[in-house]
Structure formats: C-alpha cells, structure tokens
C-alpha cells in the first residue's frame, strides 16, 4: 500500500480476540471479541476520537496500534514521512523500534503509569537514553526542556512521582510521550482520572502541544463532552465494532446510528433549564464473548426490525465522510444534541 495523501495510519479489518482460559487444564473456553473487524484511517494533523462504553474495545484498539498486543487479524498501515508504508501488525519487536518512536502513548492512570521508584529524569529520559543515546547534561537539558513544555518546573526532575499530584503526573506522562518528537500520540482516557479544573488545564495543554508540534492524536475517551471539545472526527464503538464514524459536528448534530443517539442523549447537560429528554437504554452492554447475533445493538435498539437480528450491518458511507453501520440509516430520523 502506498502512502495516501495526508493519511498517517490506515487500520484495516483489525481484530483482537482474547482467548478465555479456565480451569485446571487451562483449555480454551471461547474468546473475548474485544475488537472485531474494525477499519478506519487517521489523517495527519487531526484528532480522531474513539468513544464507547467501558469494555467496548477502545483500549484494545489503541494497544493494537502500539503493538502492546499482537492483533489476531488485520493490517495496520503506517505511512512514514519518507519511504514505503509499513504494516505494523507484521513487525517484530526489532522491526517496531523505529516506529515506536513516532507513535507514542499517554496512559489513563497517572499513578500506575509512572514507575514510583525512579526520579522524573529517568522516567522522561529513559526513551532518550535508549533511542537517542543521550547522557549526562545533554539528557538533563532535554528533559528540562520537555518539563518546561508541559508546564512543570525543570528543577522537579530530581523528584520522584510521589511528590506530584494526579494532574502533574499526567503532565510527566505527556512529557514522556513527546520526548522523541512523535507524529501520532494515542491518548487512552488521558484526562478521565483528573478533576474538573485540572482536566481543562490538561486538555488545553494537549491542544497547544498539538499546534506546536503538528501532532496527530487518537483520543480515546468515554466522555462525550471531552470528545466534542478536542476531536475533529469521532469513531463510535459498540461491543468490538465500529458503528459510526463522522466529523465531530455532524456526529453530534445529525447522528445516524441509534446507539450514538442514545449515547448523546444520556450525557447530562450542565444547564438546569434544559433538563433533557433522556433515551434510557434498557439492559446492559452485552458480554463481548457472546455478542448478540446480527447487529450487536439490536436487543437494545428501539428501531430494530427483524432483519437486524439476522444480518450484521456493514459500515458504509451515507454522506460525505459519514460512515454508519445500521440497516435503517437512510430511513430513520435521529436527533442530535440540539434536538
């Protein structure tokens, strides 16, 4: 595959099934279909949001892209600045080394993601040591510069993570992700663990850095209001499948998938005068090891017809850049956030 204009990463038919083992003999007992045949592109310079309820496969998608896990099937075409595109899914640890410098990750939990036994200098500097061979004062200078970029005082580099609050730790994590001048940053629930006031600071910081460094983000979150604020395009997942993909504005104003509609209506609006008409979905998210037949959403969908239980709707383009996986997308009228 050659480099498409402006596309940074093409995810094609990505699947990740975790085997379920149980019992004394540790035999296979089915599999968890965490990500099931997902395809999308990430354009250079954009922020692509990935939303969905917990367990729908957002983190797994991110981890496949970074090759923390080896996907069960599918291709991950990365288009470098120069040269041939590479399929990350086929590379081994050695082959991934150069690309892991260009694709980096910000973790959700600001406590678990920093080794408490190492000072900030080591945490942020380790990738510089390993990949760039920086040592001594050159390393300290670069780490100081990075800390400055994320709004921390450079003197703090001798401190250990326990000296920092959640928001500051998250900044350290961001500094680590940016140390190697990456192109793509996968931010997995990067602000979910933060308080309101610190969250807005961190979101602003992420946006400033994106402008300064021409970054591309894959922004994973379950919080639609955050997604709406930072993303250019949004992909909605439900039980391992992509159900809708569109630019943020049309997704929020004219959703075409019934699940997206329900999701949007469940977000509490911060204004007591517009107490919303919530669409309350019945039941729970299905178990990804035993997804419902046909359209995974049909047991909870208020528009479902007989066909939905039998045929899995493919993701198709219904309007310019608006992709939906619903049989009735052209027939039903759904309401967005202004409805």
């Amino acid at each position: 595959m050659s480099s498409t204009n402006g596309t940074l990463l093409s995810v094609r038919n990505l699947s990740m099934f975790y085997p379920m083992r149980a019992g004394f003999l540790q035999g296979h007992r089915g599999e968890v279909r965490a990500v099931d045949d997902v395809s999308f592109d990430i354009q250079a310079g954009e922020t692509l949001g990935l939303v969905g309820e917990s367990g729908c496969g957002k983190t797994t998608t991110g981890r496949c892209i970074l090759r923390v896990v080896a996907p069960t099937a599918g291709e991950l075409w990365y288009h470098p600045r120069e040269g041939e595109s590479v399929d990350l899914a086929r590379l081994d640890t050695g082959g991934l080394l150069p690309w892991r410098q260009e694709i980096r990750m910000i973790f959700q939990d600001p406590f678990a993601s920093l080794n408490p036994r190492l000072p900030v200098l080591e945490i942020v500097g380790e990738c510089l040591k390993v990949n760039r061979g920086l040592r001594g004062s050159a390393l300290e200078e670069r780490v100081a510069e990075l800390l400055g970029m994320v709004g921390l005082r450079p003197e703090y580099m001798r401190r250990y993570p326990h000296a920092f609050s959640g928001g500051e730790r998250q900044r350290i994590g961001i500094a680590r992700a940016l140390a190697l001048n990456p192109r793509l940053v996968v931010a997995d629930e990067a602000v979910s663990a933060l308080d309101v006031s610190v969250r807005s600071q961190t979101l602003n910081l992420l946006q400033d850095l994106q402008n300064e460094m021409q970054l591309t983000y894959l922004f994973i979150s379950h919080d639609l209001s955050v997604i709406r604020y930072v993303c250019n395009r949004v992909a909605v997942m439900y039980v391992g499948k992509l159900v809708e993909l569109a630019d943020t504005r049309s997704l929020f104003l004219t959703p075409q998938h019934p699940y997206t509609e329900a999701l949007l209506s469940s977000v509490p609006k911060p204004d007591p005068r517009v107490r919303s008409q919530r669409i309350v979905l019945e039941g729970d998210v299905p178990d990804p090891s035993q997804p419902p037949s046909g359209c995974h959403f049909h047991p909870r969908c208020r528009y479902a017809v007989d066909r939905c239980a039998e045929e899995t709707p493919p993701l198709r383009e219904t309007a310019d850049g608006h992709h939906v996986a619903c049989h009735l997308a052209d027939e039903i009228e759904l309401v967005g956030i202004h409805g």
Binding site: V68, M105, A112
Partner: protein
C-alpha cells in the same frame, strides 16, 4: 532558619526520597520492629563473636560440677572501704539430699569467686584470624567454677554452649534462606516471566511439594543422610533439605509479582520506550518487588531456625559434637532433666526471643515494603 523554611526543606527531602529512604522512614516508626531489629543484630553479633563472648569453650568441662545449677550473679562486693563494683558468685558445696539420697549443689557462702572482664582463658581464634586467650567475662581464677546458666551432664557451661549454638542455628537460617532465594528467584522468575507451559509445570511441582506434610518429609530426607558423614557435611545436608521446602513460598511470591508487574502500565511504557527485556526486568520489575522479597526472606528465617531446632530435637538433624540450639534441647530431652536440671532448657528462651524478634522485624519490613500504597 524559619519554621516555614524548615518545613519546606523537610518536604523537599520527601520529594526526592528514594524507595529505600521512604521505607526506612516508615520502618522507623514501627517501635516493636525497631526494638526487634536491635535484638536481631545483637544476636548475630553474638554468633559472630562467640569465642570472645563465651567465658569458656563449648567442650571444656569440669567433671566435679555435673548438673551444677545456675549461680546467682552479685554485682557489688563489700570491702573494708565500702561497696565497690566487682561482680562475683559463691562457690558450690555438695550436700546429700535426705530422702532421694542424691547429691545436690548448694551455694557455698564461705567461698567467693570474683569475675573479671577480659580475663585470660583457653586460647581461641576470633573471626578466623585473631588469636587470643582473652574472654569478655570469666572467673579471675581459671580453675574456679562459674556456671551462670548452670552446667550440663558433663559439667560444661550452658551459657557458653548456648552462645556457640547461636552460630549454627542463626546461620542455618541465613544459609537456608539464601539457598531458597536462589531457587525461588530462578524458578519463580522463570514461571512468572515465561508463563505458559513452564509456569504450569513449576506450579504443579510447587503444589506437590507443599501438599506433603513437612515434618514427615524432613524426617524422611534427614534419615536418608548417611550417618557416617562428618558433622559439617550433615550441617549442609540439613540446610539443603530445609531450603528444598522453603523455596516454594518465595517462588510463589516472586511469580505473583512478575505476573502482576508484566501488565502494569509503567512496565508497558518502558517496553514502548524501546527498553530491552533484560533492562525492564532488572531496572523496573525487580526493584518493584525487592522490598517485598526482603520482607518475605526475613519472615522465612525463623521458620528455618525452628525447622533446624525441631529436626535436631527429634534426633534427626545435627548431632553432637556440633553445638546448635536444637542439639542442646535434644540433650535436655528426658524426664529426669525436666525435674532435676530445668536450666538445660534455657536454650528454649533463646530460640523464643530470636524467633519473635525476627518475626517482628519481618512484619515491620512487610508493612514498610510498599511506601507508595495509596
């Protein structure tokens, strides 16, 4: 310096404190553990300097004094110019008990034996290279009887034997634990890091070993040691046997940590940073559980000591002429002793204190082992 500046210095010290500093600060707050730590250090010092601390050597005997009871130690001697610091004991005289018709020792209030410091006695080699005939305490007259903890059936000083016993008993704990540690790290680490079939097999072996009752297992293994082995080899045999069981616990702890750490975010982050496998293990994973291992080790030592003591007590472990706490207790093992020479059990007190102290230190370490717990 103002209070505010001092406060901020203190805060900065905490901010840049390493794991070990944080652990030490936390451990220090644990009173019982700190006291026990001092006791444990003292016990190991006794083991190290046994030749110098003991008044005699373990095999020195005075046949006239078999089963002599402990003497009372007096600290001040009355002289014509008043009271002066000079420890002393009464001598012994023998009386015949009317009913039982047997010899008993009673203090002879006519005879006073002065006790001195740094007295000369039997020449010994200290720490393997220092030749000396000085002992920390001892009777000023080398011929005089001094049995502060009583004498055994051959007229040997119990205090001396207990001090020498410390060496074997406390070191068997250390050596045994070191062996278990090597086995535990190797097998537990492999099990946790490789996972899969290797893990499966090692876990089943561990379960098997742990499901066999320990005392019969020790007995069987100990009985298998050839009786004609020299004492030193028996000592090593016993240590190997003890660690053969001891490693399983450690291996489990280590495996558990490895498994948990493999999926920790910070380990994944290091992996994505391009850090090599070996460096991840040594730099990120091992330091994260080292403190837990140290705590587990400290808690394993008393088990080893108890195991040695019980084996020797049952006559299956070390045998005379080796002097260990278990051997000493084994010698005290008959009804007559219980009735007539209860002081032979004083070793039990030493075992008790050592075990308790080690356990408290272990508990303190375990509590301090994770200074980052939220």
């Amino acid at each position: 310096m103002t209070a505010r500046a001092m406060e901020s210095d203190r805060q900065e010290a905490i901010n840049v404190a390493t794991q070990w500093q944080l652990m030490w600060w936390r451990f220090r707050k644990h009173r019982l553990a700190m006291t026990s730590l001092v006791i444990v250090i003292l016990i190991y010092l006794v083991a190290l300097l046994a030749e110098f601390l003991a008044p005699f050597t373990p095999d020195e005997f005075q046949a006239d004094y078999t089963y002599a009871p402990p003497q009372r130690l007096h600290l001040f001697l009355e002289t014509e110019n008043g009271l002066r610091f000079q420890p002393w004991v009464y001598g012994y005289k023998v009386e015949i008990e009317e009913e039982a018709l047997r010899r008993v020792f009673v203090p002879d209030e006519e005879v006073i034996h002065e006790i001195g410091f740094f007295v000369s006695g039997v020449p010994v080699t200290l720490l393997g290279f220092l030749e000396t005939d000085r002992h920390l305490v001892g009777p000023k007259d080398p011929e005089a009887p001094m049995f502060l903890f009583g004498a055994d059936k051959l007229g040997r000083d119990m205090l001396t034997r207990m001090i020498y016993g410390t060496r074997i008993s406390m070191s068997i704990g250390l050596v045994g634990v070191a062996l278990s540690l090597i086995l535990g790290i190797l097998l537990g680490g492999l099990s946790g890091f490789l996972g899969g079939q290797v893990d499966n097999i090692i876990q089943r072996v561990i379960e098997f070993i742990r499901s066999v009752p320990t005392i019969p297992l020790w007995m069987g293994l100990a009985a298998a040691l050839p009786t004609d082995w020299p004492p030193l080899r028996i000592y090593f045999g016993i240590t190997v046997i003890l660690s053969f069981i001891g490693w399983t616990e450690l291996a489990r702890v280590i495996r558990g940590r490895f498994l948990a750490l493999r999926t920790e975010d910070f380990v994944i982050a290091a992996h994505l940073d391009g850090v090599g496998q070996m460096r991840i293990i040594l730099h990120h994973m091992v330091p994260s559980f080292l403190s837990h291992i140290i705590a587990a080790l400290t808690l394993a030592i008393p088990n080893m000591i108890l195991a040695e003591t019980s084996l020797s007590f049952l006559g299956l472990g070390l045998r005379p002429p080796i002097v260990s706490w278990g051997v000493l207790l084994q010698e005290a093992q008959n009804i007559r002793t219980v009735a007539t020479a209860p002081w032979l059990f004083s070793t039990g007190g030493a075992v008790f204190i050592a075990i308790l102290a080690l356990n408290f230190v272990g508990d303190g370490l375990r509590d301090a082992a994770d200074p980052y717990a939220r």
